[in-house]
Symmetry: C2
């Protein structure tokens, strides 16, 4: 269950959380990039539509990835915990060069896949170099600590966010999605305040963080990624706050990064597209 | 028209922007503190209800301040630019120990009071030690650069905020009000990105920043003040962004400060209630 955190595991695959509502009819920058990453015509993407309650979701992504010229798409049926142990489904999963988790409910993902052979297999594949992407709920689920649910608003408040264990591909980030569209800075700040080890990654819709094996996060898509770096936090009142109280947080570093910009999760240095990062 | 910016003008009065919807029936912490600051039973608060279109607004604050035991309250009628030159009204204003601007529309404040003898008198009074507070639109109007209007959302976007000249009591801050309640981080970030000289001060409802003559900002009330310090910004894409584009901002320092916490606008150091500030 231990996540891959070392910056030196250069054989790991990309981890690609997407903020939801990614473009599906226009330039499709994010999905196109994901397809290329997974090998294009030689690639094989396993789509896991578990988060969605719509039966059509898997088929929709199958068509999308095919139109973007991926070699093969498989839709895996992990609707029950029992299915997550099905040797036939797992055998297909093991042949994938990319895994994609659709949107829906991250709690459905956690309760259905968590602790099963399917979850274990995805972690092992990621360690071996397979790329794993997810959109919306699928994005939230990728990391070790996921935001299960929470309230809106930009001021952090005690009790406004509930964390739950996620898939565990990395513990360096806590992801929040539909970020600008649903006013989620407060809950992301509250989430990272619990333990200012992880970096908060707030993804706007149609915006993705492509996290390379060397822990460089690159922004792709039409919106922004809000990176909340707690490493300089001097003070937090979270431990003393009652539910509903505003939480004081002093010294948060915030980067708003648009397409082409990068943030290094190891060095904590941000840089814009075409602008060299400043040394420390 | 030059604002008071020197940290050494220790004779200046307090500047007190309030985030709107301040408590009027419970502990009334903010208004009570303002009354005490203005001299309590020996004080005289001039209420300027220009921002409001409701005739009852002035009377409401008159009753509130009287119930909090201020010595005297005057309601000034500055409904037209001509009235802002009325010697009788100005004579009353000059005797005040505190000035209070109500909520409503900051554009109504700007277009009615801006450039008149009333505005000039309030600036002179502030320099001489008279305390000036304002709530909601009245808070936005206090500083040299005010947010006239803008859009919601936490990601900064080009064109999402329109700045206008304000009353000019200080140019060290740009204020935004109803902060958490109306999801205004994006527009505040956009506003400070224009010129990362000023500090963004996002005020939740029922929350005030009491800015002392020594440039120490203290938080009073039930919410939080989000301080956006741009002094470490390494990169901004604002100059190149088209209207509607997300704006990249790298290296923003963010403090969420609750009651009793302070931020020094001169040294840019934040500290929580009862916690000594760290030296640089």
């Amino acid at each position: 269950m231990s996540p891959e955190t070392g910056p030196d595991n250069l054989s790991r695959g990309y981890i690609v959380p997407i903020g939801g509502a990614e473009d599906k009819v226009g330039p499709e920058a994010i999905l196109k990039r994901f397809v290329q990453l997974c090998g294009g015509r030689d690639g094989h993407i396993a789509v896991i539509p578990t988060a969605s309650e719509l039966r059509s979701t898997g088929r929709r992504y199958e068509e999308l990835f095919k139109s973007l010229r991926i070699g093969k798409v498989s839709i895996l049926t992990f609707e029950t915990r029992k299915q997550c142990e099905d040797p036939e489904e797992l055998a297909i999963l093991e042949k994938a060069t990319g895994v994609f988790l659709t949107g829906g409910s991250q709690l459905r993902l956690g309760t259905t896949i968590g602790g099963t052979s399917a979850a274990k297999t995805i972690r092992l594949l990621s360690e071996r170099g397979v790329h794993v992407g997810g959109t919306s709920a699928g994005a939230a689920f990728l990391s070790e600590h996921m935001i299960a649910f929470g309230e809106e608003g930009s001021t952090p408040r005690a009790g406004m966010v509930t964390l739950a264990p996620g898939l565990g591909l990395t513990n360096r980030i806590v992801v929040d999605q539909h970020f600008r569209q649903r006013d989620r800075l407060g809950r992301l700040l509250t989430a990272i305040a619990f333990n200012p080890f992880a970096v908060g990654v707030g993804l706007d819709e149609d915006t993705a963080a492509f996290i390379a094996p060397d822990e460089t996060l690159e922004v792709v898509g039409s919106g922004a990624v809000t990176v909340v770096d707690p490493s300089r936090i001097e003070y937090s009142s979270l431990d003393a706050a009652k539910v509903g109280d505003p939480v004081s947080l002093l010294g948060v570093t915030l980067h708003v990064i648009i397409k082409g910009g990068v943030f290094n999760l190891h060095s904590r240095i941000a840089s814009a597209a075409g602008v060299p990062a400043e040394g420390e």
